[in-house]
Symmetry: D2
């Protein structure tokens, strides 16, 4: 397997990587849990992890999205998973979808942090792993067990779920 | 969405559904955790759950595998996930792979029970969900983040991992 | 065992009973987890559960503390555990300590919600169970594995820990 | 605080410290989880950890119990917690109870391993922490939220619970 056959995981933050600070009582970022997650699930696919930022996606600006796009374009792999907050995941998907050519990008996150009990993080990550390995070039979101193309998806803020548009 | 567009999940047992009996100190089956798993991960894909058996896959006989095949053939859905013990998962995959036509079947299980801490169950299930929705007809195993066609996979008993053959 | 030989648990809220709301991304109260906690730990002591309120202890006012005191005085049991937020636990302990006579009251809470991974809730609750059954009349706090009398304890806001004064 | 004011925790094994081996599918001992447990619960009591053995208590022989007794007698601390399998916990308690003078010893274990979901381990350990700090000299068992003197306790093998005799 050549290096470029690996899956690159670009970490950008979001609920999936948040944790609870017992002193302040607030949700915060300390460090990414992706390495722990991959160890827990005994992942044997070759993966290259790259932390771009650890941000709540409501705090992301255009420059952040451009930075994510640039890393997708520049990295040697053509299978890319992007962990991302759910609130603006669809917006970043549109930036990537319009501009990323010849690669498969899958955005994924969680409604409940991996570090908490009863999280959806590992299931969603599993959905992203199969999707990025099987889908043709293009940009997708895997949430709620579904696979959405970048130009037909939004988050329903009332329910927290992703839905087709 | 027509009923036959749903994913059918055939439950057959395996480590993924085992739990610990604190009185006997042994691993055992009580009832399947698939409903709890799908609720936890906020799955919004239409799913039809069917429990065929709850068996350790070392206890499965030819008749069991024929029964699983028959349910795959007879059910109205053409996207089928089969939860299964890992020890003979590859053997059941071969029975299905040789005989199931015009449908996509994905076998999946876990090395550590869903009910325990630090399980690989939800990740593997997520892999199966995307695989069954994206792959052409055929029979596959999704374990360790990889997707294996039924005729090129075995479990390495030393490491517990699945590998290409 | 007469009814008054049971342990009364007065539930007032606090981090121990908080949970994460995946739609708003905030910590909130839904319902108390005390019943689940006692079931999980196979508690066989007779317990009477009473939910007085579900409040963040920073929101508690004098009337709330007076209400807790009144329930301690009026209930038939003389062994009382009070679950409470940590931020003003010492303040409520002082109100109870000065006014509760002939009974043993133990305040307890958690730095990390029971519903999250890696919580201190069950350990602290265990400390309270033994303390309330072994200590003479008086009011105490059990946190960090220690037992503090009501008039010599404060929470260190920097570290989140309780310490002697 | 002098060294002898600390709590000594003698680790002997038992379900509380067992874990699941995903390759063999069996419960086994790897290393004690006591350090992780004390970190998780933010214990601030001074503790001296000593691993004597990691055994299923059904495998314990008289020499094992004599060895535990000897460590209780010889260690400088007079507050001692002994983690122990539940099946013969009452038997070891009798050996200690008849022979340990001038110290407080509390035996504790779990029906479900700490490493699994929904364990009773942390609650039971909390019960032991308060008991060892508050009780007069003697030997006790803390299980199911109760405190039993060594000469009036047995495990009910049908229910898995400890009860007065």
């Amino acid at each position: 397997m050549k290096k470029e056959d690996a899956i690159r995981i670009l970490i950008t933050g979001g609920t999936i990587d948040k944790e609870y600070d017992p002193v302040t009582g607030e949700l915060t970022f300390a460090k990414s849990h992706l390495t722990n997650m991959l160890n827990q699930v005994r992942c044997k696919v070759k993966v290259v992890l790259e932390e771009i930022m650890l941000k709540d996606s409501l705090q992301m600006r255009s420059a952040d999205r451009e930075g994510i796009l640039k890393r997708c374009v520049d990295c040697p792999e053509d299978k890319i998973i992007i962990t991302h907050g759910t609130d603006t995941m669809a917006e970043t998907a549109r930036v990537l979808g319009k501009n990323l050519k010849g690669k498969t990008g899958v955005l994924v996150g969680a409604l409940i942090p991996y570090a908490f009990g009863a999280s959806d993080a590992l299931f969603n990550l599993g959905c992203a792993f199969s999707a990025v390995q099987t889908l043709q070039e293009g940009v997708y979101i895997t949430m709620n067990g579904k696979i959405f193309p970048w130009d037909h998806v939004r988050k329903n803020r009332e329910s927290g779920e992703f839905e087709e548009t």
